[in-house]
C-alpha cells in the first residue's frame, strides 16, 4: 500500500463484513515522541481466540473462495518494519480492535496519506453504519461522529446526500488544517508535504 490510509480502508471493510454497526477510527500522532498510533475498533461479530491468533497469518482466512487473506498481515508488516508494533484484540460476539503503532521517523515509514478521503468514502458508501473518526496531533484533536450528524439531520436527509457529503468533506479538511497548524510550528517542515 502506498498510504496507511488505504490500509485503514481495507481493515474497516473487515469490520463492515463482520456486521459492525459502529466503527471507530482513531489516529494519534505524537511528533515529539516520534510515534503514531492507528486504531480501528468495531462492534462486529468478533473472533474466537484461535481466529484472532491466526488473523495475521496470510494463509488464514474465513473466506471459502480463496486460501489467502492479506489485509491484516500487510498492515502488521507495515507497522513492524518501522520498529512499531501491532495488536489484535477480539471477543466473539463483542467486537474487534486492531492497533498499529508506528515510528514515523523510520526510513520504511509509509505516509498516512489522505485519511480524510478514506473516512468520507466509508461514511457515504456505508449509509447503514455509524463511524467515529478521531484524529489527534500532539495537543490538538477533533472528532467526527456520524451519530451526532444523524441527530441533527433526522430521518429526512441521508448522510450520502450531496450536500451532507460536501459538509463532511469541508469539516474534515478544516479540522485537519486546524490540528496541523500548531504542530507545524514545532516539527521540521518535512512532514507537511504528505497531505495529498
Amino acid at each position: 500500500m502506498r498510504e496507511l490510509s488505504l490500509n485503514v480502508m481495507d481493515i474497516a471493510q473487515n469490520s463492515i463484513s463482520a456486521g459492525a454497526e459502529l466503527i471507530v477510527i482513531d489516529v494519534c500522532e505524537e511528533p515529539e515522541a516520534d510515534g503514531m498510533t492507528i486504531r480501528i475498533s468495531d462492534d462486529g461479530v468478533g473472533m474466537t481466540a484461535e481466529q484472532a491468533a491466526r488473523v495475521t497469518d496470510p494463509f488464514f482466512t474465513t473466506r471459502t473462495t480463496r486460501k489467502v487473506g492479506l489485509g491484516v498481515p500487510l498492515f502488521k508488516m507495515e507497522a513492524e518494519m518501522t520498529g512499531g508494533s501491532f495488536e489484535v484484540v477480539s471477543t466473539k460476539g463483542v467486537g474487534t480492535t486492531i492497533t498499529a503503532n508506528f515510528v514515523p521517523s523510520h526510513v520504511d515509514m509509509i505516509p498516512l496519506g489522505d485519511i480524510n478521503s478514506t473516512v468520507l468514502l466509508l461514511i457515504t458508501c456505508n449509509e447503514d453504519r455509524n463511524f467515529v473518526f478521531h484524529h489527534r496531533i500532539h495537543s490538538r484533536e477533533f472528532t467526527l461522529d456520524t451519530r451526532e450528524l444523524r441527530a441533527v439531520l433526522g430521518n429526512e436527509v441521508r448522510l450520502n446526500s450531496s450536500e451532507v457529503t460536501e459538509w463532511i468533506k469541508g469539516y474534515l479538511s478544516e479540522q485537519t488544517q486546524f490540528i496541523k497548524e500548531e504542530s507545524t510550528d514545532e516539527v521540521f517542515s518535512g512532514t507537511s508535504g504528505d497531505q495529498g
Binding site: 488505504l6 471493510q13 480463496r66 458508501c125 451526532e148 459538509w167 469539516y171
Partner: protein, 122 residues
C-alpha cells in the same frame, strides 16, 4: 468553520421540498471492488470519482457501493454495473478518468464503454 447549524439548514431545506424517492426496483447499482487487492491497485480514487460524478449529475436512480474481491485481482480496480433486466457489465483496470467516462456514457446515456470491459481486456 463548518458547524452543525449548517447541517440543520440542510435538513430544513430538505423538509421544504417534496422528495420523490425513485422505486429501488429499477435502481442501477455500481459496485467497486474494495478488497485488499482493489485498494492496493487504486480503487479508492476510482470510487471517489464515481461517487462525485454520480452526485454531480444528480443520478438519483444510481447507488454506488463497495464490494469485496471477486477473484480477478489482476484486473483491479474492477467496477461492476448491475442494471435490472440487463446483463452485468464488468469494467477492469479502472482509473478515475475512466470512471467519469463510464458515468457519462454508460449511466447517463446507456452506452456501454466496450473498450474498458473485461471482454476487451483479457
Amino acid at each position: 468553520m463548518k458547524s452543525l447549524a449548517e447541517l440543520q439548514a440542510i435538513r430544513d431545506r430538505a423538509r421544504g421540498q417534496v422528495i420523490l424517492r425513485e422505486n429501488n426496483d429499477n435502481a442501477i447499482r455500481v459496485l467497486v471492488g474494495m478488497a485488499t487487492c482493489g485498494i492496493a491497485a487504486g480503487a479508492r480514487p476510482v470510487l471517489n470519482a464515481m461517487v462525485e460524478e454520480v452526485a454531480k449529475r444528480g443520478l438519483s436512480n444510481v447507488t454506488v457501493t463497495q464490494t469485496g474481491c471477486i477473484g480477478i485481482c489482476q484486473f483491479e480496480p474492477v467496477v461492476e454495473i448491475v442494471t435490472p433486466g440487463q446483463e452485468k457489465v464488468t469494467y477492469v483496470k479502472m482509473t478515475p478518468e475512466k470512471a467519469v467516462r463510464v458515468v457519462n456514457d454508460h449511466l447517463v446515456n446507456g452506452n456501454v464503454v466496450t473498450e474498458y470491459t473485461i471482454g476487451a481486456n483479457s
